[in-house]
Structure formats: C-alpha cells, structure tokens
Amino acid sequence: MYYARVIGNIVSTIKYKGLKGKKIQVIQPVDMKTGKDSGSFLVALDATSSGMGDMIGYEDGAEATWAFEEDDVPVDASIVAIIDKINITG
C-alpha cells in the first residue's frame, strides 16, 4: 500500500461498465516520512469514500482490481484506505 493525498476528481459518463458508479479520484503520492509530494499525480478508483484533501492508502497494479467485489473492474490504482494518522519511529 502506498500513501497519497486526494487532490481532485474526474467526471466520466462514457466508461466501461465495470467502472460505473465508482468514484474516480486524482491522487498525489506523498512521502510518508517528510509529508512532501513525491512524483507525479495518478488517477485511482475509490473503494472507500474518500474526499478532497484526505490522506489515503492506495494499491497499484493487478492488486488494485481486488479492491472491488466484481471481477470485471479494469483498474490499476485503487484507494483502499483513508489514513487517520501515521506513527513512524526510526
């Protein structure tokens, strides 16, 4: 799981049926230790109910499809957690 912040969302009416009814968010990966943005934004499907500004955890690659009950969800990045707090020692 990777750490990111929700920075926007995307509206799409014409899309594959497996994506219908799911929220498409724009997320910005964030470095867990420094809290700074890290790398380019990406587009992720929301398996939680995240909102703008929320810190979230996402999965990428094939694992992203397992976040949804249906097996015809073509997605390579999914939001799977809303992160409340991070504790790091060392």
Binding site: I7, N9, I10, Y16, V43, D72, D76
Partner: protein, 89 residues
C-alpha cells in the same frame, strides 16, 4: 490509471488473431491542465473515443479485466472518456 489524450491511431493489417477487430489508439499522457507530456502508449479502445479526446488508460494485467480484453494479448486499454477534471486550488 493514466490521464491522457488520444493523439492518433495505428493501423495493422497483419496482427495476432486475438487483436482482430480491436481499435488501436495512440494516447499521450497529459498533466492536470491538459498539457501533453512525453510518454505515450498504444491502447485498445473499448468505450468508443475519438482523436483529441481526454481518456483514462489502464495498464498491465488489469487491462485484461474486461469482456473485450480477457485472455487477449493486450496490456493497455482505454476504459473511460473524461468529461471534466476538478482539482484543488
């Protein structure tokens, strides 16, 4: 998923039989302001988009999680046409 814009198409008469009937489009990545970026992919279109339209592209094995691409030699697929993008100020 990659945010991109369709910039062209690819015509291939001789191709793997599992690709027959599939529309191949060239999609360039764009930033959140719509500016074209360098990387591009050749993706199979399953939703019906045209040149110049903004789209979402799924890569890798996730691209085969659709009826149209299941068990086919495809690793990049256009799954949505983007109507609008809202980003934080």
């Amino acid at each position: 998923m990659i945010l991109g814009q369709v910039v062209g198409n690819v015509v291939a008469t001789q191709k793997n039989e599992k690709l027959i009937g599939k529309k191949l489009l060239i999609v360039k990545a764009i930033d959140l302001k719509g500016k074209l970026m360098e990387p591009f992919v050749v993706a199979v279109d399953i939703v019906g988009v045209g040149i110049g339209e903004k789209v979402l592209v799924v890569n890798g094995s996730s691209a085969r999680q659709t009826d149209e691409t299941k068990d086919r030699t495809i690793d990049s697929v256009i799954v949505a046409k983007v109507d609008s993008i809202q980003v934080e100020a």
